[in-house]
């Protein structure tokens, strides 16, 4: 910051106001301009990102149009690109992960926010924060060497044995596939659900709980029938946030999903996801159409996470405002 005094900007004789000049001499105006440039670069980078994704996917957008999302042939040799299997894989794995992560995450958040003593809650939250810091490639590593063998030898045969009549649990147990990817994703997004839901639950005003308890509700009833409904929108926000993470997650999914562009009702089947296909094929893509099709997939991923993050933020803000407004 010390350098800001020595640099005299060529601001020119802008508006002869004396206050501006005096502020300039004191350095305030210079500091403001310099820091504003840094702040503006954030906006610029974001705009450039959107522009590059849009500009980089011109060819497939013009050639395939909406058929890009409806066809399932992905054939670089004949320049045919349809993204349906990848979109399907992304949606299915995200859905499986939420089915597992939402009950577990919200249960844990309720425990941390409502039932555990403050010290225990803070200590556990510390571990949850550390868990959120574990990089996805580490989850992928454990997925490859621990979860996949476990799935192949025990879990998938067991599921097949008890629920094999459902189309979801049929076919050979490879270990890799939608179910495995969903489980690994669930493990990855649980910390996000717990952290955000806990914050939202903690922001529920105290009198809500006291009112319920004074009416004779048990601890569980006051939590489940009063506090959780009050924080409902914020909890939904945490779920959307987790969904956005799950859709965009790359490494762990790439390592366990099987990387086969297949649409199958069976969760045991190997599949592919948008992020995984970009990760695997981008460096090997030959020809503009191939590369640009992958960039268009990136654009789809960007738009999906953009919308989900926006919704999540609205929901979380709505809840915390409601909490502070009434409390």
């Amino acid at each position: 910051m010390a350098t800001t005094t020595s640099t005299v900007p060529s601001a020119g004789p802008v508006a002869g106001s004396r206050s501006f000049l005096s502020r300039l001499r004191e350095g305030d105006e210079i500091a403001r301009i310099i820091t504003s440039l840094f702040a503006a670069s954030v906006v610029l980078i974001t705009l450039l990102l959107v522009f590059e994704l849009w500009q980089g996917s011109v060819l497939p957008r013009h050639k395939f149009g909406f058929n890009f999302f409806r066809t399932s042939v992905w054939d670089p040799i004949f320049d045919q690109f349809g993204a349906l299997p990848f979109i399907y894989g992304t949606v299915v794995t995200a859905a499986v992960s939420l089915l597992i992560a939402v009950p577990l995450g919200i249960g844990a958040a309720i425990f941390l926010a409502e039932l555990a003593p403050a010290r225990v809650s803070d200590a556990l939250e510390f571990f949850i924060d550390l868990l959120a810091a574990v990089p996805s490639v580490i989850y992928g590593l454990l997925g490859v060497f621990i979860v996949i063998p476990l799935m192949r030898q025990y879990i998938q045969p067991a599921l097949k044995h008890s629920f094999g009549f459902l189309p979801l649990f049929q076919g050979p147990a490879y270990g890799v596939g939608f179910l495995t990817a969903g489980i690994v994703l669930a493990i990855m997004v649980i910390p996000y659900i717990i952290s955000v839901s806990r914050e939202v639950l903690l922001s529920v005003p105290r009198d809500q709980r006291e009112a319920a308890l004074s009416l004779g509700a048990t601890r569980w009833e006051s939590t489940w029938k009063v506090v959780v409904p009050f924080a409902r929108t914020g909890i939904f926000g945490s779920i959307f946030l987790a969904l956005a993470r799950a859709l965009g997650e790359t490494m762990a999914v790439t390592m366990v999903i099987g990387n086969t562009p297949v649409i199958s009702t069976s969760l045991f089947s190997p599949g592919y996801s948008i992020a995984a296909v970009i990760a695997n094929e981008f460096t090997e893509a030959t020809g503009d159409l191939y590369t640009q099709s992958l960039i268009e997939l990136g654009l789809v991923l960007f738009l999906l996470t953009f919308i989900l993050n926006g919704v999540a933020r609205l929901l979380i803000v709505a809840t915390s405002q409601r909490g502070s407004g009434l409390g």
Partner: protein, 269 residues
Amino acid sequence: MLTMTGVCALVAVSVLFFVLGYLVYHGGTSINWNFFTKLPAPVGESGGGLANAILGSAKLLLLASFVGVPIGFFGAIYLAEFSGGTIAFVVRYAADLLNGVPSIVIGIFAYSLVVHPFKHYSTLAGGFALGLMMIPITLRSTEEFLRAVPNALREAAMALGASKWKTIATVIVPAAYRGILTAILLAFARVAGETAPLLFTALGNQFWSPGWEQPTASLPVMIFTYAVAPYDDWHRQAWAAGLVLLGLILVINIVARAILSRGIAVPRT
């Protein structure tokens, strides 16, 4: 039902210990002096290390800090001290948007901005991609910590005749420095493990990567390539690299939180 929620919390937290346990169990035996000092051995030969990946990661993180820290830090000063209203809203919105962008898309962006025009993969491109990811984390948390500095401090400095930038440089930033340090460390830890943005920017390398303009190996990408490869010796190395990487990230996280909890001037946000 009460105990059920406790079980949920226990399950969630125990994952951390499973992850750590497996990494130590499988990777602990492979960490030796060679791991930190030798180049990767050719397939079929045992031994060798990941020295080039460790150095590559360090270089990438250095570059990333050059991109991410100044933009995040000065941008945050603008948001917290100078701006108000619409512009601040737009900047914050852009930062949140950038924060939510999947890391693989950041990779595509860095590819089309740095790799494509120069026609080759490079350390620079990888560092740029990681730097982009550092910006929103540094920016938003630094802003929060600056805002948490009590207004009385600002007013006191100004009442003594200090100009605004002098107030910021000598009073506000020092008052919030623990928080800012934490923010930067956490951003650092976050990008240290990122793999997806490096796949087609820094690419990977089996050898040393002199200078800044060649593809470089990095720990996360090495873990990925070694884990999906069919060689047992590589798997062993992948576990060891995972242990080193996670150890580093967890230590940075714990140190960052320790710095923050010792602070007095700034309340925890």
